[in-house]
């Protein structure tokens, strides 16, 4: 191969991903005095944050005066089945109100209470109404506010439609990354002193998903390659309510806000079936419970015509629905020809969120590789075995800021100029990236991606089983072998060639899928989002550990690691809160 030619760009802090976490981190790092470069695969403002609908969880007690950070903490821990990083959960519950108010001072607009405070709506498994929102498009408000703040913050630059495909280390420390521009395939070498991953999840591994083409788990895969540890990779969330019909829209999200505003779930016999699964919280139970409930109803033959359940909000006034759920109203009217003020929606679970991800330090978001940080969905810990709705937007704000602050500090502390990168490592990474362009007879990456999606959907569904998980792992490893020799689907152009881009994306997906299967095999119990038919109960011993996936010369390994003891005041907060544990299926 000819010597690699690339443009070199230097920055103090490199941020990968321009969703809420990436932008919040960029703002914090720049305010900390660092030069910051944000790199994203799409255009600015299109990241997944934009699709968050329901709201941002923060115990501001504007609607329920009894709310406090302790209750929010307890809700988060109980929802996550106590394998959360309790330190993260505490920081998150304490700091999210401040982060929301800060957003308002940057120009964000929220719905108000009659006294003029920020209004908060009820949501699944939150004890009190806690979600600051604006109709059902809170994510758009959040990303637009952060986007405008970031581009007007001195020291922040953005490279759009650029894919980072390799992290570089020098002397064990992060020293840069290599990327290509999607438009023309030209290469970029970033040299940096600290690097923040804010690249989101890997929901594209599944066929029925609320995630876009971007969610291929690049961040987790690159961190893993760089030697960072991954945690809780078996924990992926099915959102209970995705659209099921028509076929073309299957998987698109139906906000939990519908249930927050009073929507009820019924099976085809008209029964409000949540009564049988969680009679106290009903539709507003945690997401893992509601998703499994719908799944069970369908399996028992009580599903809706297209294999889901009915979600009904028609008892609310049409004007109220159109004000509080405008984009849902529009979405169903336009895509499914259903007027939700008059007819029920048909919904079924859809893949939504990865609780697992890069293992990080609670206070700083530092990964286990020096100079590497992670925040948002790509990181792990806060949500444990199941994420509560609304906790992801607050996660982005709280830990985005913390990672940005810490990265800026790290840059200040290490005064040496950015270390030289290893040219050989760059050349090898570029060769791997370019290889599919020359493999004219190679398999189509789109076909391999479909096989990955089928494997996950079939062998790691809502309820899993040991033998199937093993079969799924074998299949993923076999696909990984074939992926090494895949082509681009026919064309060898580097100009905006999605086939070529996908050939790289599936490599990331395969790392995520392997970690998911390996961790899921080890967790021989049912906990939160991870339910197993062969181990249907909680195992108290496994409740004391997280599973860590890590890189060895012999391939990926998984080990159990003990969770540290919660201090007394937090244990009390959990014990004395009114928050209820999710009832377990214990047949």
């Amino acid at each position: 191969m000819s010597p690699t030619s690339y443009e070199t760009v230097e920055t103090d802090v490199l941020v990968i991903g321009a969703g809420g976490a990436g932008l919040r981190a960029a703002i914090a790092a720049a305010e900390g005095g660092a030069s910051v470069l944000v790199v994203c695969k799409s255009l600015l403002g299109k990241a997944h944050t934009v699709m968050a609908e329901g709201g941002v969880a923060a115990a501001m007690h504007n609607v329920a005066y009894q709310d406090s950070w302790e209750v929010h903490f307890a809700d988060t821990m109980k929802g996550g089945k106590l394998i959360n990083d309790w330190q993260m959960a505490e920081l998150h519950a304490r700091e999210s109100p401040e982060r929301v108010l800060e957003l308002e001072r940057w120009g964000a607009v929220f719905d108000r209470t009659w006294q003029g405070r920020i209004h908060q709506r009820p949501f699944g498994a939150h004890t009190y109404p806690r979600l600051a929102h604006i109709g059902d498009r809170t994510g758009l408000e959040l990303i637009r506010t952060l986007q405008d703040r970031a581009v007007h913050t001195k020291g922040v630059d953005v490279h759009m439609e650029t894919t980072v495909f390799k992290l570089l280390k020098t002397d064990g420390k992060i020293s840069g990354a290599v990327a290509y521009r999607r438009a023309d395939g030209s290469l970029l070498l970033y040299r940096c002193r600290a690097l923040i991953l804010a690249s989101g999840g890997a929901g594209k591994m599944y066929r029925v998903t609320s995630n876009s083409w971007e969610s291929t788990g690049d961040g987790t895969a690159m961190a893993y390659d760089a030697g960072a540890e991954l945690r809780d990779m078996e924990m992926v969330q099915f959102h209970p309510t995705g659209m099921v019909w028509p076929a073309g829209v299957r998987g698109i999200l139906v906000t939990e806000g519908v249930r927050g505003e009073g929507g009820v779930l019924r099976n085809k016999e008209g029964e409000r079936f949540m009564e049988r699964y969680d009679h106290e919280r009903m539709e507003l139970s945690s997401r893992d419970v509601v998703a499994r409930a719908i799944n069970s109803e369908v399996l028992a033959g009580r599903g809706s015509p297209h294999g889901g359940a009915f979600l009904d909000i028609t008892h609310r006034k049409p004007d109220y629905i159109r004000t509080k759920l405008p984009s849902m109203y529009e979405q169903f009217l336009k895509l499914a020809n259903v007027d939700i003020t008059k007819q029920p929606m048909e919904v079924a679970p859809t893949i939504h969120y990865a609780m697992g991800g890069v293992r990080v330090d609670a206070e700083t978001g530092a990964a286990t590789v020096p100079g590497l940080y992670a925040a948002g969905e790509v990181a792990s810990g806060l949500h444990g075995a199941n994420r509560l709705g609304g906790n992801s937007l607050s996660d982005l704000l709280v830990f985005g800021k913390r990672a940005g602050d810490a990265a800026a500090e790290f840059v200040k502390a290490g005064s040496a100029p950015a270390a030289e990168v290893d040219g050989g490592e760059v050349d090898a990474a570029v060769a791997t990236l370019m290889a599919p362009l020359d493999r004219h007879g190679g398999e189509s990456p789109f076909k391999l991606m479909a096989e990955i999606q089928d494997t996950l959907s079939r062998y790691a569904p809502i309820v899993r089983e040991g033998g199937e998980l093993q079969a799924g792992l074998d299949q993923i490893l076999a696909i990984a072998e074939r992926a090494k020799t895949c082509g681009t689907g026919g064309s060898s152009t580097k100009a905006f060639n999605p086939g070529w881009h996908t050939a790289y994306d599936i490599r990331s997906m395969l790392v995520n899928a392997e970690a998911l299967f390996r961790s899921a095999i080890e967790r021989k119990e049912s906990r939160g989002a991870h339910a197993r038919s062969d181990f249907p109960k909680l195992d108290d011993e496994l409740g004391k550990v997280n599973f860590i996936a890590y890189h060895t010369d012999g391939g990926m390994k998984v080990r159990a690691e003990k969770i540290s003891e919660m201090p007394e005041y937090l244990r009390e907060a959990v014990q004395h809160s009114y928050a209820r544990y999710t009832p377990e299926e214990r047949e």
């Binding site: 600015l44 934009v50 120009g107 829209v249 789109f446 999605p498 996908t502």
Partner: protein, 255 residues
């Protein structure tokens, strides 16, 4: 009742503009149509099965991100929100015309991001910024800007605006999207900055002659002309073209 999800109900003749800034042509693809399919599904089907190098932008597939803008049978729309069923057996998809082409359906929209940087950001009163008290605002005041903040930046309004599309006056006029942006700041209950000089100058609100095409194509149904541009024109006029004030200025010896 309905068909099983995966059975094709008919075939579609999908014509997609393929090419780059130098040359290109419409290419025809036969796509099996499933119930409820939208144009984006058909385009992605072609990408996965017939033309892996077909360039197209998309993300959320739910009309929330504004990535998949294109001209469908000549009309600027989001592909993810356009059911195939609205057309007969054939449909033509072209890239947005107002922006330089990169490849196939992907255009260079970076100019929009440059414009956004030139608009002074949200600025509240010093007192508001320093108080430790959370702000109070009334819903009815918030409601005024809600409409503008729904914008998903699909840039379809920019695409259809004749000032940008036919006359290419991008140096003189920011375009409808950024009139909406300025309106969302100007009418924010807590914003105190005066952007009227900008409107008269670089933003060029005077270039809009109220044909309302932008309003018609907005997938978020924002009343761009009625609720954003016209009130902004009025604000600007009040400051610069009020005849009584003009006389007063002349009497005072100002210009």
């Amino acid at each position: 009742m309905s068909q099983p999800a995966d059975v094709a109900v008919s075939d579609l003749d999908l014509k997609i503009w393929r090419g780059d800034a130098n040359a290109g042509e419409l290419v025809s693809y036969r796509v099996p149509v499933r119930e409820g399919m939208v144009v984006l599904d058909a385009v992605l089907w072609v990408q996965a099965n017939l033309a892996a190098d077909l360039a197209v932008r998309w993300n959320c597939k739910a009309a929330k991100c504004g990535s998949c803008s294109a001209e469908i049978d000549g009309y600027p729309r989001l592909m993810c929100k356009t059911p195939i069923a609205e057309y007969g057996g054939s449909v033509t998809v072209r890239p947005m015309k107002a922006f330089p082409l990169i490849k196939d359906l992907v255009t260079d929209v970076s100019w929009n991001y440059e414009v956004n940087k030139q608009i002074p950001p949200f600025t509240a009163d010093e007192k508001d910024m320093t108080t430790s008290e959370p702000w109070r605002m009334q819903q009815k005041d918030v409601d005024r800007v809600l409409e503008f903040r729904k914008c998903i930046e699909c840039f379809l309004c920019q695409d259809v605006c004749h000032v940008l599309r036919n006359h290419d006056l991008k140096q003189q006029y920011y375009g409808p999207r950024f009139m909406v942006r300025i309106a969302s700041l100007e009418m924010h209950p807590k914003d105190v900055l005066d952007r009227r000089p900008l409107l008269k100058g670089a933003a060029g609100v005077g270039y809009c002659n109220i044909t309302k095409c932008c309003q018609e194509v907005c997938p978020e149904h924002i009343h761009i002309t009625d609720n954003a541009i016209i009130p902004l024109k009025e604000r600007m006029d009040d400051a610069y073209f009020d005849p009584i004030r003009a006389i007063a200025r002349r009497l005072k010896g100002n210009k």
